[in-house]
């Protein structure tokens, strides 16, 4: 007979047994779904909301930014309306730039002392030292040049300068003929290009219907690799309908600068001095004038460099590693200053971790579409992580020069020049430089301001010089969501929507015989990289579209005849 005691025992046993199953814990979790006080959800920090102003360093455009902060922590970023160069616009990279200090793939350490010892050993053995700077023109670049001038045989190397250092005045153009240049997708300052877009007709010559081609007034689809032949045809009077369009000047012709046809077309249609203009750089202190000269990397002698220091903290043009490698001596020491393992750090003996936006104080030189020289700062909005180093200070220390106040010294030199105007972001007003004192100018720069030089009245028409031409490639590279550090929220653009190609994703025409999601290898004479296929009927057969990234640029830079093979 079952007694009351038995019932209690059964109930008690069931209760204890249930605790050993996931059921009650699951019920607690699910019950909490109806409450926002669920421990699984992070709680946003609360505090005083205020605005801070700065400038973006994530690409050479250097767009003005207004950060909404809780206390000192930026929680969102927007453009600065009324800015004369960026016109209030920001690209998605800038909008989520405040996430970068927390990127899970950020470089967290580096053997600083070992690197310093290896560098000193290399110099001590009489080897030549060089700094390769991916974004020249910064104050840090001047520090490198000064440092290299004080070291025996020191070289300052830079990537090939766009337009030989001259600038494009898009606002003056009525017709723009572009050979595959991503004019509307990351080429210049986004706001400036969009602002000028209403005033010019755009003719895009490109094999693939890129974002720029999709937005062009005329898209001229070509077979892959035929773009240069079309440029030659237009130059020699062929293609009447395009020639007629080009009669509506001023004209600007953009394309790979190693094509002589681009130089000749600009000369023929009178672009030099009208849409391609000379630009004065921001002044520097007189004591810096004995710095080492700028030298393009390609001009360095083969096998000559014993110690190579690469600063890729400020993203700029990427030179494929196989081109750099030929300049190194057999026992060369390579040190990369970087925030990620993706770039030159893959090839360097030492990768030293640096600050990322918006941790570091840095300046941003004028973009390719800025006819006037500029000076603006990206201020430190959050403290730099403890493990990071400042490459400019590291190299200055190596050379025994003082660079601690280099930015302030340059600001003072600009102030002394009494040229141009200062645009203040908070009140969107401009002040003539000659009406400002040095301290007030420096304070303004740190609170959000941009110095814009006067146009040079004595400027000469630029003289473009064609470089040695490389052969055209059948690989179309588009901006990636995976090169370097970008916000983890970019997953919205590739993983969760496919609006942009993810890193190591390759777009092919369905007719070429691969399946969606298939694993393949992109192969050139420089090697191969495993990729995932994404079928896209808008890619013509014979063309390949993939996202940029240091490894892809190493593979495809200068290579022709890329092909996709099954793995």
């Amino acid at each position: 007979m079952t007694t009351r005691r038995d019932l209690f025992k059964i109930a008690g046993g069931a209760a204890v047994g249930a605790l050993l199953t996931p059921a009650p814990w699951r019920m607690i979790t699910d019950g909490a779904l109806w409450s926002e006080n669920w421990p699984g959800i992070p709680r946003p920090a609360r505090g005083e909301i205020r605005a801070k102003f700065t400038n973006c360093t994530l690409c050479p455009a250097g767009c003005a930014m207004k950060a909404r902060c809780v206390g000192d922590q930026p929680i969102s970023i927007a453009g600065v309306a009324g800015h004369p160069l960026s016109h209030g616009a920001l690209c998605p990279y800038g909008i989520a730039g405040h996430h970068l200090p927390y990127h899970p793939e950020r470089l967290l350490s580096g053997a600083v002392e070992d690197a310093a010892a290896a560098i000193k050993k290399g110099i001590g053995e009489g080897g030549r030292i060089a700094v390769f700077d991916t974004r020249p023109g910064r104050t840090a670049s001047w520090t490198y040049r000064r440092a290299m001038a004080s070291l025996p045989g020191g070289l300052y190397l830079r990537p090939e300068a766009a337009l030989n250092g001259d600038a494009v005045d898009l606002s003056a153009a009525r017709t723009v003929l572009s050979f595959g240049v991503p004019l509307l997708d990351g080429w210049g300052t986004p706001g400036n290009v969009i602002q000028a877009r209403g005033n010019f007709r755009l003719i895009q010559v490109e094999a693939i219907e890129s974002r720029t081609a999709a937005m062009a007034d005329v898209w001229l689809p070509t077979n892959p690799g035929e773009e240069r032949a079309i440029a030659s045809l237009i130059l020699n009077g062929g293609m009447d309908h395009i020639a007629r369009e080009l009669e509506d000047g001023p004209v600007l012709v953009l394309g790979p600068e190693d094509w002589p046809e681009i130089v000749e077309l600009n000369r023929k249609y009178g672009a030099l001095g009208r849409t391609i203009v000379s630009r004065r750089d921001a002044p520097v202190p007189d004591t810096w004038k004995d710095a080492a000269p700028e030298m393009e990397w390609a001009d360095a002698a083969e096998g000559s460099i014993r110690v190579l220091l690469i600063d890729e903290t400020a993203p700029g043009a990427y030179v494929p590693w196989h081109s750099i490698e030929t300049r190194l001596s057999r026992d060369a020491v390579v040190v990369a200053f970087t925030a990620t393992r993706d770039g030159y750090a893959r090839h360097a003996q030492f990768a030293l971790a640096t600050a990322v936006f918006p941790e570091a104080l840095d300046d941003i030189p004028a973009a390719v579409d800025s006819p006037a020289g500029v000076f603006r700062l990206s201020t430190s909005m959050v403290p730099s992580a403890a493990w990071t180093i400042d490459p400019a200070m590291f190299i200055a220390q190596l050379a025994g020069i003082d660079a601690a106040s280099a930015l302030r010294d340059r600001a003072d030199a600009i102030c002394r020049s009494a040229r141009g105007n200062v645009f203040h972001y908070a009140d969107q007003k401009s002040t003539p430089m000659k009406a400002m004192k040095a301290d007030a100018f420096w304070k303004s720069l740190n609170e959000g301001a941009c110095w814009i030089d006067d146009l040079d009245p004595k400027a000469h028409a630029p003289q473009l010089v064609a470089r040695a031409a490389t052969r055209a490639s059948n690989v179309s590279l588009v901006e990636t969501c995976g090169a370097g550090l970008v916000s983890p929220l970019f997953s919205k653009l590739h993983e969760e929507s496919h609006v942009r190609l993810a890193r190591h994703e390759i777009a092919l025409n369905p007719a070429v015989g691969f399946c969606d999601g298939e694993r393949v290898a992109l192969q050139t004479d420089c090697g191969r990289i495993a990729m995932t296929v994404l079928l896209d009927p808008s890619i013509p057969p014979g063309s390949i579209q993939t996202a940029t990234g240091a490894d892809v640029l190493d593979l495809c830079g200068g290579a022709t005849g890329a092909k996709v093979v099954r793995i």
Binding site: E36, I75, S76, P92, I95, E209, L493, S497
Partner: protein
């Protein structure tokens, strides 16, 4: 008169950069993709679709169409089917709101939405270590198991009302209220305002001959007006969603 907030999206100006999608995620505390997320399980309150004219290369032409909750004003389908009354239409603004605290995750609203503009929260919201410091305090992160969607940045509306009231202005229709995607669009393709205000830019643009709404034939009175001079682009208004039937097409 009550406001009737709406948008105009100029497809001819959109280059598909995705700034609107990223700004939306930043503003509304939408987490990065979970490892198992894809284009069906992702959380994208505004999603840019790539559409084309259906022709073969080289006659093929593409356009980018941002699609978000269309804020239906008539017989709002999602509000009708919700058994929890977790969806409501604010008569003061015309905005269709979603209350995650009430949602039980049945997803009837997702099935009912003709625009596929609602998203289910499949996973616990998680951010990389330290990134939770960048969350917006004006918007509560949602829990796993509920449906989410665009609400025209409701947190911004509240803040704009507070600012207006603090400045002694009428709080009912704050003048500086814009959703994050509108503020972020570098091309100025997305415009926002009160459709009931005949002087507003959106009211003007919505009446232009090149304006159209998605699936207008359903009679749901969406408050998002698209704009294009290209005739083939306008045909997307008849499709269940831009690019439908071509699941592998990007966007």
């Amino acid at each position: 008169m009550n406001a009737r907030y709406g948008m105009t999206i100029d497809i001819d100006r959109c280059n598909g950069c995705g700034a609107c999608m990223v700004a939306c995620a930043v503003e509304n505390n939408i987490p990065p993709a979970h490892a198992g997320a894809n284009d069906r399980k992702g959380l994208t309150w505004i999603r840019v679709y790539k559409v084309d004219n259906g022709k073969e290369y080289p006659e093929r032409r593409s356009a980018f169409v941002p699609v978000l909750c269309q804020q239906c004003g008539n017989e709002t389908p999602c509000a009708h089917v919700c058994p929890q009354q977790a969806v409501d239409v604010d008569p003061k603004t015309g905005v269709v709101g979603q209350m995650p605290e009430r949602c039980l995750g049945c997803r009837y609203c997702m099935a009912a939405c003709p625009y596929h503009a609602r998203y289910f929260n499949w996973w616990d919201p998680a951010w990389p270590k330290g990134m939770e410091k960048t969350l917006n305090p004006s918007v509560a992160p949602r829990m796993r198991g509920v449906v989410e969607k665009c609400n025209f940045c409701h947190g911004r509306w509240h803040e704009a009302r507070e600012r207006a009231a603090a400045n002694g202005l009428a709080a009912s229709e704050p003048v500086d209220y814009v959703p994050a995607c509108v503020e972020a669009c570098p091309a100025g393709a997305i415009r926002f305002g009160n459709l009931n205000d005949s002087t507003s830019e959106v009211a003007h643009k919505s009446k232009e001959p090149d304006s159209f709404r998605l699936l207008e034939k359903l009679g749901t009175d969406p408050k998002i007006y698209y704009h294009s001079k290209r005739d083939w682009v306008k045909t997307i208004a008849e499709a269940p969603r831009p690019g439908a039937g071509k699941e592998n097409v990007r966007g």
